[in-house]
């Protein structure tokens, strides 16, 4: 079925092109049909490919994209188990989110523009995961970044949204620059950017721990960290919530932000040659997941809580990659795409039905008023908290146990990960209890329609049952030894999320324990504000980079170099004014000056002659 491969990215691209150039000819119904239908058709192509897949990697070269000197990069696709998982997630979850958007965005003045961007994003993301060389992957990588920028700033009449979009673009650009350098280094070393060729060449040429390997993978990691919003480049993701909620679900939860995980998994042969980088991946993941979990606990904006939780969950994926649990990470990527898309779409439904209210303190008692949304959110939160038998449980448990088995720092990684799991359960169920229980402050003015209800229902099923899906990545990654940790380790890993739910119940619903005194005490307030501001990383960057840069631009705006030339001009003008004042036009004065000049000259000559 290789004939169909090119259609997978081509269909959304065609739709995006039609929508961009023909937006004035389409009514809202045909825009929605085109936008949703193209992704659905791409999804069907993916399904057909999966059904006919024999287990061997598929390759298809469409044409040679760039051929300069040694460099030859084709528009060519490489499809193996990993790609198929990504393709299913992108087209499957992507289709559901497109469908949801058709209702969510109805009535928006830029309906066609929205679907054009969204389709373009799907195209870029599909290119990213299907590419068989790193250059084409980088094209998709930048493409999703550009679409993320366009969609975060979709409602660009509000200047704050534009600022959020710029921040998302600029911060990820830092990582992208590192990644581009990594590509240059790899090309210099091996003369090719073909991923499979790179893998075998690197294995042959480099020993484990080779400094060049460490440098190259560290640069690739820089790109992954930027795109996947990990420490220290995570600050853009919470602000990216300025975009429409389905965009947050698709780009900033399910697909684009996991591109970094995909990149590391795709180039795992390189990373295996660089144990220091792998350890850095694990530690970055651990720190990020803890930082983001603490921050999520202190937020009040429903979308920001989910954004921080996304950062935290990608931290788990990085942790998994770092300890060599490749397939567990990809598995968590998939289940996370299900339950986080579900959570975002449910949050979008709440916002949609509640007059664009974002603050959870003004919500409450929605359980009976929005039953479907409540059910979706409950399932999503359960999966996010990794409660037993939900999809998140299977994937997260694999990562946590693999972290324990890691040599050396393993138990520490495990301890951090289960602490993160406890916090995840705490903030997830805080959200559930505060939003859906208690007193009703704001009443919904409508119910989600069928186009919003259907994706929610489907994602509910996947969030619950996604854990039983097998992912065909065994042939892609080296087989990891099955983790068999002690019973108490398993018990703690499973038990802590339950404890988190119980604690959330005690704190936010039953209120048997009132922690407000603790929070309102002076150290409690300091800590709360510190966590609320995301550990003040934004403030740090502001102080470290933004303020000096702005100061420099203000300085340069006054043209300091031109001051010198300005001084020359001013001097000339001053002298000119003085000299022109002597041009009085009075003949007698001229005569006097001339006479004086002659006398002076005569005096000079007389003295020079030695008189």
């Amino acid at each position: 079925m290789t004939d169909l491969l090119w259609l997978i990215p081509a269909l959304p691209l065609a739709s995006a092109t039609l929508l961009i150039f023909g937006s004035q000819w389409w009514g809202p119904r045909s825009v929605a049909a085109l936008g949703v239908g193209s992704v659905a058709a791409a999804g069907v192509c993916v399904l057909l490919t999966i059904l006919s897949w024999q287990g061997a990697p598929l390759q298809q070269t469409l044409w040679t994209w760039i051929a300069v000197g040694e460099l030859s990069a084709g528009v060519s696709f490489y499809i193996d188990g990993l790609t198929l998982v990504m393709l299913s997630v992108i087209t499957g979850v992507g289709f559901l989110i497109h469908l949801y958007s058709a209702e969510f965005m109805s009535g928006d003045a830029s309906y066609a523009r929205y679907f054009a961007y969204l389709n373009l994003f799907v195209t870029a993301m599909l290119t990213l995961v299907m590419a068989d060389n790193l250059l084409l992957l980088f094209l998709g990588w930048e493409g999703v970044g550009a679409c993320s920028y366009l969609l975060v700033g979709f409602w660009h009449f509000d200047a704050a949204n534009g600022a959020a979009a710029r921040k998302a673009f600029v911060v990820t650009r830092v990582g992208d620059a590192a990644m581009a350098l990594g590509l240059f280094l790899l090309f210099r070393e091996f003369g090719t950017l073909d991923i499979q060729a790179l893998g075998s060449a690197a294995t042959a040429q480099w020993e484990v721990g080779d400094p060049t390997a460490v440098l190259a993978t560290a640069l690739l990691l820089g790109g992954a960290v930027g795109k996947s919003a990990q420490l220290p480049l995570h600050t853009w993701l919470p602000d990216a919530m300025a975009g429409p909620t389905p965009v947050s679900a698709l780009i900033h939860a399910a697909t684009m932000v996991t591109a970094g995980v995909y990149l590391i998994a795709r180039t795992h042969e390189l990373f295996l040659l660089a144990p220091p980088t792998l350890a850095a991946v694990a530690i970055i993941g651990l720190l990020t997941l803890l930082l983001a979990a603490f921050t999520a606990l202190c937020q009040n904006d429903i979308k920001r809580i989910l954004a921080w939780s996304t950062i935290s969950q990608i931290g788990y994926m990085f942790l998994g990659l770092g300890v060599g649990a490749w397939s567990a990470s990809i598995f968590h990527l998939m289940t996370h795409a299900f339950f986080k898309a579900l959570l975002f779409l449910a949050a979008g439904a709440i916002i949609h039905c509640l007059h664009h209210e974002h603050d959870i303190r003004k919500m409450g008692g929605l359980r009976s008023r929005l039953p479907l949304v409540f059910l979706s959110f409950l399932i999503g939160a359960a999966a996010l908290s990794a409660l037993p038998l939900t999809s998140g449980f299977f994937s997260k448990d694999l990562i946590v146990l693999a972290a324990f088995e890691a040599p050396g720092i393993g138990p520490w990684l495990w301890a951090g990960a289960v602490l993160g799991a406890f916090l995840t359960a705490l903030y997830s169920f805080r959200l559930v209890f505060v939003v859906f229980f208690g007193r009703a402050d704001t009443l919904p003015d409508r119910q989600p329609g069928p186009a919003m209800a259907m994706p929610l229902s489907v994602l509910c099923v996947f969030s619950l049952a996604g854990g039983w899906l097998g992912i065909p990545v065994a042939s892609v990654f080296p087989t990891a030894a099955e983790a068999h940790p002690a019973l108490w380790v398993e018990a703690v890993s499973i038990g802590l999320p339950l404890l988190g739910v119980a604690m959330a119940y005690v704190l936010f619903l039953g209120r048997q324990w009132d922690a407000s005194g603790l929070v309102e005490s002076a150290p409690g307030q300091t800590l709360f504000r510190f966590w609320h501001a995301g550990w003040r990383v934004d403030g740090l960057y502001d102080w470290l980079w933004v303020k000096p840069f702005v100061g420099l631009t203000v300085l340069l705006k006054s043209e300091p170099v031109d001051r010198l030339y300005g001084a020359v001009v001013a001097l000339c003008q001053f002298c000119h004014q003085q000299l022109s004042r002597s041009q009085s036009g009075r003949l007698r004065q001229y005569a006097t000056v001339m006479a004086a000049g002659v006398i002076v000259l005569l005096g000079v000559v007389w003295r020079a002659a030695g008189g």
Partner: protein, 104 residues
Amino acid sequence: MDGLQVPLEHVLGLASLLFALGLTGLMVRRNILFVLMSLEVMLNSAALAFVAAGAHWGQPDGQVVFMLVLTVTAAEVSVGLGLVLQIQRRFHTLDIDAATRLRG
């Protein structure tokens, strides 16, 4: 020399005095007619110095230059008087300080 009864120093002193008088007149008089007359005095003082020098060294050049100065003076006066007429016509005064349109 036989023909010279007056010492050269005296003649040159007179010429200098005349030149200084002319220059002073040029600098202080505002009436354009007097300015022209002051110019004449200065030119003639120079011519006198030439003549005296020529007589002192017994050379004819001094008198040649005197003739030249005389011609130049005649030309200068004709142009100068034309200017005087023009200034009188345009400014209705002979005050030289009224014509300062060329000031910077």
